[in-house]
């Protein structure tokens, strides 16, 4: 049955999995450029490493499973997983942690469930969360954005290409440098720590870390991913349902609490632009394999992820929450789908 088309349609197919995946890679470019601009070469080194590891891991597992490896490699899904993973980890992550995360993502989360199309969890996020839980320090050691005012104020330095490569491959810091001199908290982290210490938003925002509404540099990164997301929408690789619902869910939750007390809750714009919300909304939550497939289901799925992100950011144990929220809703997706089936043409009521 699987061998080619016997029955109609006889037309040329207009869509391909590899085209879809390449579009996603292409859409990552603006955000990636912003990230590399502000956080150095480590971003690109990590992406390259992750891609190589992912393809190799996919190839090996498929060989072990006795499945044809080439068609699966050629669909670029492993590359997309690798890139998304690399974009979420800090540019200082040692190579072997990247390897570990990728192995977990590709071998356990993706291939052990049957490969592309069968995995219930988003592999990139599962790999990230695996590292976050196992190696919390390494995975939260972010570099400061390359913003002179900020660097001067905090007496920080940035890494050259060689510095980054040395740090990633050997774990050696640049000569005469300390971890404290090269790392800085992310805006979400900073906000959370300061709020926990009882500071008001007005006080917190005195710091040179802040840009217009997110953190310096980070806003640009989020803007880059937003741009890429709009590209995906334009190319009809994704539909608006999940990203809009997710951002709306997050923004509405943030707006409610910000409205109640703007001194203890940052603005909705902060929530949208400070962390991984944009990347999550357009690139992570929209992963077709693990998301809801019905339109109403996608709206519920998106809103739930957005709301959950806010809940975890505001009251949970981690500063950012995109990965956790997405994974939690991945489990719920089949059930949501079951109860949100559309009304079929000519039927009075919907199934489910």
């Amino acid at each position: 049955m699987d061998r080619g088309f016997i029955s109609s349609p006889h037309s040329a197919r207009i869509n391909r999995v590899d085209w879809v995946m390449l579009q996603v890679c292409l859409a990552l470019v603006p955000g990636t450029l912003a990230l590399a601009w502000f956080f150095g070469w480590g971003v690109l080194i990590n992406m390259g490493l992750a891609a190589v590891f992912a393809v190799a891991a996919e190839f090996l597992v498929l060989k072990l499973r006795g499945r044809p490896a080439l068609p699966a490699i050629r669909d670029y899904s492993a590359v997309v997983t690798a890139l998304l993973f690399a974009l979420t980890v800090p540019p200082t992550l040692p190579w072997w942690l990247t390897l570990l995360g990728i192995l977990f993502a590709i071998v356990i989360v993706k291939q052990l469930y049957g490969g592309i199309g069968y995995n219930p969890f988003n592999p990139a996020m599962a790999g990230y969360v695996f590292l976050l839980i196992s190696y919390p320090v390494a995975v939260t050691s972010w570099l400061p954005p390359d913003v002179p005012a900020l660097l001067d104020a905090r007496d920080l330095t940035t890494l050259s290409f060689l510095d980054s490569a040395r740090l990633i491959f050997t774990g050696a810091l640049p000569p005469a440098q300390t971890w404290d001199a090269i790392t800085a908290a992310t805006p979400l982290d900073e906000m959370r720590t300061m709020l926990d210490q009882g500071a008001t938003i007005d006080v917190i925002r005195q710091s040179p870390l802040w840009g217009a509404f997110g953190g310096h540099g980070w806003e640009w990164v989020s803007g880059g991913f937003l741009l890429g997301g709009l590209y995906l929408l334009w190319r009809r690789v994704i539909t608006w349902h999940i990203p809009v619902a997710m951002l709306a869910g997050l923004a509405v939750m943030a707006a409610i609490f910000w409205g109640i007390d703007p001194q203890t809750h940052p603005s909705p714009a902060f929530h949208l632009f400070a962390g991984g919300a944009m990347l999550g909304a357009f690139f992570i939550a929209t992963d077709p394999v693990t998301a809801c497939t019905t339109k109403r289901g996608q709206l519920i799925y998106g809103v739930a992820i957005g709301a959950l992100i806010f809940v975890i950011r505001a009251w949970g144990g981690y500063p950012d929450a995109v990965a956790f929220s997405v994974l939690l809703l991945n489990i719920a997706a089949p059930t949501i789908d079951q109860y949100t089936q559309p009304r079929v043409f000519g039927h009075k009521r919907a199934n489910g």
Binding site: M1, S7, S8, I14, G117, H347
Partner: protein, 601 residues
């Protein structure tokens, strides 16, 4: 429920209107490829040397041949009679000699052969005597018009080929308010309806008026996609010329595949949804193709049966794509040859359009009433989609599904052969339009999976019914055997009681007997004197002896009926429990055993 603004709405003269349109879910925009074949006027195809006319070109029972091998037939002569209500006759499409009535390859998705009447044409194209034209149709009884349509062999010419007279007879409990005429022709490449509307708009409008009269419907909506402006214009002009602008409205609809699906077109034009598993008549609508309307006019106004139709021969695999007016039974190869033959390497030869047509293994098949297009696709037009990849659940299929199904869920379950689950996802609402497979990034042959699931479901349903039937018969037989056994036991008991009673009486009666014998003897002694009296006494004795044997009679003949019970009931049980894969042979065995049993009983 958006109002789709049609770019042509309001621009066209005559019956054109700016009526509100509805839309259906999904659909795909396809390159329409219609310019390939719609620039040249329709050409009459030559009379072929041999006509191969299938006896079944419609949904329902096949026609029964009413001519013999060697007979001379005339153009328009009945050669196959309809059998039953849902059936249609077939007619000779030119004059000649019947050379054979045999199995021939026909254009059918199965690729199987079917009975055909083979006519060697004589080139005279001589008409048979045709029935009287019913020119004043408005004064005719609708039943008479329906009978004319039936005996003219008219079936739906959009592809489904359902007998038109049946469709035009929805019954009193389903009043029809709207006749929808389908001129959408949404499949790419096909232009035969386009050309028909351009060239025979008047006939189509006549057919519309006849059908409105038959149905007693108040209005007619003619739906035409906006990529056929000439056709829409011609139709509007014909409507205006016929002076029926108040009842017949030409509606230009946006081009979107599959707007020409019956249910989709009804939705677009009226906003009504034909209920699932239902027919349009349930919402007061009958839908007919433009070709059917034209054939109806021919049959009623000219007495001509359906013996020819417009066919598009197109695709880049054919040198000069164009439309032909073709006699039913003409080999497809003739059309290809008339179009300058093939251009080179063919990827596929298709009967119908690229989205819903089926592949032909050979061009040596006849054009039938349902064949609207012979499509020769080059490898560039129909590239090999390659090995299907895993479904990535992207949901594009659900976005384009006009029935608003969840194709990928159906695919998962069809693949797992979980037929109940596929049906839960409303498999049977799938119209097999092919949109889902067209947009699938993994190139999964989705429609093929659904056809497979449907066929399997039908087969299973049939098996289930057969098993149910066998089970009922088995239960009935068991009950009968039990009843017979009970009756036998009751009889035996009665007999025993009788015997016991007799014995009691017998002891007392023995003396009587002896006395009787004694008396007989005496009489025997006296026989010489009176011989006739002794015979009477012996007669009574013989009666008494015969009686027990006669009582045992029915019980004894019952005996073999009970004996073969185990084998028969064991086969009966297998099918009776509804084992999913109970082969038909088992049922047949049970049936045979049952029949034998019946015979014995």
């Amino acid at each position: 429920m958006f109002n789709i603004a049609s770019p042509l709405a309001g621009l066209l003269p005559g019956g054109e209107s700016t009526r509100r349109l509805w839309h259906f879910h999904g659909g795909v925009h396809l390159p329409d490829e219609k310019e390939l074949s719609n620039r040249t006027p329709v050409q009459g195809a030559a009379i072929p040397a041999q006509l191969v006319i299938p006896l079944q070109q419609h949904i329902g029972a096949p026609a029964r041949p009413c001519v013999g091998v060697g007979d001379r037939v005339l153009k328009g002569q009945l050669i196959g009679e309809p059998q039953g209500y849902i059936s249609a006759p077939v007619h000779a499409s030119s004059s000649g000699i019947v050379r054979a009535i045999e199995l021939r390859e026909i254009p059918h998705p199965s690729g199987l052969s079917a009975p055909c009447v083979v006519i060697e044409t004589d080139g005279e194209d001589a008409w048979a005597e045709l029935p009287q034209p019913l020119a004043d149709f408005a004064a005719e009884d609708p039943n008479r018009l329906r009978e004319r349509i039936r005996m003219s062999g008219i079936v739906g010419m959009g592809g489904a080929s359902f007998p038109s007279n049946v469709k035009l007879n929805p019954g009193k409990d389903q009043p029809i308010d709207t006749l929808v005429i389908n001129g959408a022709e949404c499949e790419p490449y096909i232009t035969c309806d386009d050309l028909l509307m351009r060239e025979q708009a008047t006939d189509i409008v006549d057919g519309v008026r006849i059908m409105l009269h038959i149905l007693g419907a108040g209005r007619c909506l003619v739906g035409i996609e906006d990529n056929k402006p000439e056709a829409a214009e011609a139709m509007c002009a014909a409507v205006a010329a016929a002076g029926v602008g108040d009842r017949v409205e030409v509606v230009v609809i946006p081009t979107l595949y599959p707007s020409g699906g019956e249910k989709q077109l009804i939705r677009i034009l009226t906003g009504k949804e034909v209920p699932s598993h239902g027919i349009p008549a349930q919402v007061g609508i009958v839908c007919q193709n433009v070709g059917t309307a034209c054939a109806v006019a021919d049959a009623v106004l000219r007495g001509r049966p359906l013996i020819e139709r417009y066919v598009t021969a197109t695709g880049r695999g054919i040198a000069e794509p164009r439309n032909y007016r073709v006699r039913i039974g003409t080999p497809a190869a003739d059309l290809v040859a008339a179009s300058g033959g093939y251009t080179g390497e063919l990827a596929k030869l298709v009967a119908g359009g690229p989205m819903m047509g089926f592949r032909l293994d050979t061009d040596a098949v006849p054009i039938t009433k349902a064949t609207n297009c012979i499509l020769a696709l080059t490898p560039a037009e129909s590239p090999d989609p390659g090995e299907p990849l895993a479904c990535i659940r992207c949901g594009r299929c659900a976005e384009v599904c006009p029935a608003q199904l969840l194709p990928q869920q159906m695919y998962w379950h069809a693949r797992a052969k979980d037929l109940d689950k596929v049906q839960d996802y409303n498999l049977f609402d799938c119209i097999e339009c092919g949109c889902c497979a067209h947009v699938c990034p993994s190139h999964i042959p989705l429609v093929q999976y659904y056809r497979y699931a449907k066929t399997e479901s039908w087969a299973r349903e049939k098996e289930k019914r057969a098993a149910e039937h066998a089970r009922e018969r088995h239960a009935a037989r068991e009950a009968r055997l039990e009843r017979q056994e009970r009756e036998r036991q009751a009889k035996l008991r009665k007999q025993k009681e009788l015997a016991a009673a007799k014995k009691k009486v017998g002891d007392a009666g023995a003396d009587d007997k002896k006395a009787a014998i004694e008396a007989a003897r005496k009489r025997a002694a006296a026989k010489r004197a009176a011989a006739g009296k002794a015979a009477g006494a012996e007669g009574v004795q013989a009666d008494a002896a015969a009686k027990p044997a006669a009582d045992a009679g029915p019980g004894a003949t019952n005996q073999p009926d009970v004996a073969p019970k185990p084998p028969a009931s064991s086969t009966g049980d297998t099918s009776g429990t509804g084992a999913p894969r109970a082969p038909a042979a088992n049922d047949a065995k049970a049936h045979a055993a049952e029949t034998a049993d019946e015979a014995r009983a």
